[in-house]
């Protein structure tokens, strides 16, 4: 049997697929937070805590539940270690553990509309430190993917969304990144939400500085076989974003 966190011989907590889910937690795990003291005093046998999770209300939640599965999101016991190490947690509307909690409570749409998922810098600190091996950074990816499909991305984060979309469009066209083309498309896409012309030309002053250092490429590289790149994008269900 594989060893669980802290070398416990209990298997990874199991979650059944029935509407009322049973989360089994190995009681050897030592909890430091006061709210978990009750579990810490349990005998070394397995403790079963029935947790009722609302059934997903529609099809997109089923899609989300499916792509969330490899992240072990239901194993989160809210220790907050992800949030403690998160470099952007202080500047977002929901902390990472709150996003996971919202999912556990069935509030999928709240999680998908949060600023957090787009402010996340994908540094992987949360996933690395999670004592329950929850892939919190993977949860953010899953939420971004479905949030974008459903048009739920937070309006305050439209600039980040625009950047990621412009990036993928660029790769789809060229196979490799064309930096100037990326910046141009990003600025035009983000302009409606930024609403100021200064934003459009903000980085233009960098051009001569980069030119001086032979870092500016007026035309980016392209791969020869661009049709294969387009076929890969199509087969991955990626149309032209936006």
């Amino acid at each position: 049997m594989a060893l669980g966190p802290y070398g416990s011989r209990h298997p990874r907590p199991l979650v059944s697929l029935s509407p009322v889910r049973t989360i089994t937690i190995g009681s050897r795990v030592v909890f430091s937070t006061a709210c978990c003291l009750a579990l810490a005093f349990a005998t070394p046998t397995e403790t079963t805590v029935p947790v009722e999770l609302p059934a997903p209300e529609n099809a997109s939640c089923n899609v989300l539940t499916k792509i969330l599965a490899p992240t072990h999101w239901t194993d989160c016991y809210q220790c907050g270690k992800c949030t403690a190490g998160c470099p952007v947690a202080a500047a977002v509307d929901m902390t990472p553990n709150q996003v996971v909690r919202a999912l556990q409570l069935g509030n999928f749409e709240i999680a998908m509309a949060s600023d957090t998922i787009w402010a996340c810098v994908s540094c992987q600190t949360c996933s690395t430190r999670c004592p329950q091996s929850v892939d919190c950074a993977g949860i953010m990816d899953a939420l971004r993917e479905v949030s974008l499909e459903r048009g739920l991305a937070s309006p305050a984060q439209k600039t980040v969304v625009a950047f990621q979309q412009a990036f993928l469009n660029n790769i789809r066209r060229n196979g490799r990144l064309d930096e100037i083309e990326l910046i141009a498309e990003f600025k035009l896409r983000a302009l409606p939400s930024e609403r100021n012309l200064g934003f459009l030309f903000k980085d233009a002053s960098l051009a001569p500085q980069l030119q001086m250092r032979r870092k500016l490429h007026l035309r980016g590289e392209k791969v020869k076989d661009r049709p294969i790149v387009r076929r890969i994008f199509e087969r991955c269900g990626d149309g032209k974003h936006g």
Binding site: V121, E145, F163, F167, R176, R213, R214, H217
Partner: protein, 281 residues
């Protein structure tokens, strides 16, 4: 050493000083990385944020191309590329069905034989004991803050490299060159990565914390192996100083710059003269 080379978009774009440095430094050690033909972008943050399948397919195509071109080892000097390549390889190793599915998407099969290496691993492969005798100018005055950033060591189950909280592989290289790496706190903290354009305020804030901690612990330069970290800490250093009303003047070196200097290469040969923050005379 026969070594495939996956430059990634950054090293062929505005981080071409990293490529110059890498080629000069490894050339001095008689390693000539060979660029794989028809490589495509790994998808970076955009792919894993917006389309999971694409974030496996794009790197997988590069793995397959390198294998097809007869390589067993491949250097990916950008930690973002390196992590995405390793992640795709891992997911396909764990799931034969996924490997079949991705192979048909990318029209070529990645068998999983190819080993992806980051830059530090290439130095380790050459052998620090073999590099040491080639050091011509020991860097006794250098007190570098070795900065690993996020993806060289994270996620640990994907990259399987060094310790994610207390890495030491870069410090070992610095000590071998005669430099005195400082002990500091922000070695694996994030600089804001690819958010440079999309969320500049985040990048300035996070990078400022890194520079401030390095300075506080007595570093006189910072060493990185990541093109994005270099952009945020070097190109943006002036903006950071302006915004926070402070002065760092901390040169940011690529790992290959520092090794190259010790091997006797000049700043011009390594492309250090193309950085934004000037080297002290």
């Amino acid at each position: 050493m026969k070594l495939a080379y996956y430059p990634g978009c950054a090293l062929h774009g505005s981080s071409n000083d990293y490529e110059q440095s890498l080629r000069a430094c490894l050339g001095k050690l008689e390693v000539e990385p060979q660029e794989i033909k028809e490589w495509i972008c790994c998808g970076a943050t955009a792919a894993h944020a917006l389309n999971h399948k694409l974030s496996i397919a794009l790197p997988a195509r590069n793995l397959a191309l390198a294998e097809q071109q007869g390589f067993e080892d491949m250097l990916a000097p950008c930690p973002m590329c390196s992590m995405q390549l390793l992640k795709a390889a891992k997911l396909m190793d764990e799931d034969a069905g996924l490997r079949r599915e991705i192979s048909s998407v990318i029209e070529v099969e990645a068998s999983g034989r190819l080993q992806v290496l980051n830059l530090i691993q290439v130095f380790q492969r050459i052998g620090l004991d073999r590099i040491k005798p080639a050091v011509k100018k020991p860097l006794a005055d250098l007190k570098p803050a070795c900065y690993y950033g996020c993806l060289l060591t994270r996620p640990p189950d994907v990259v399987k490299f060094d310790d994610p909280e207390q890495p030491s592989s870069m410090e070992a290289i610095m000590a071998m060159l005669g430099a005195k790496p400082v002990d500091w706190n922000y070695r694996t903290e994030c600089c804001g990565a690819g958010m440079t354009m999309a969320k500049e305020a985040t990048v300035l804030e996070l990078s400022q914390r890194i520079l401030a901690d390095a300075r506080e612990h007595g570093a006189n330069c910072l060493v990185t192996a990541c093109p994005m970290c270099h952009v945020n800490l070097d190109m943006k250093q002036g903006d950071i100083e302006q915004r926070y009303g402070t002065r760092f003047g901390l040169p940011i070196y690529y790992l290959t710059d520092v090794v190259g200097l010790a091997l006797g290469l000049s700043s011009e040969e390594l492309g250090i003269d193309r950085h934004f923050v000037k080297q002290p005379q």
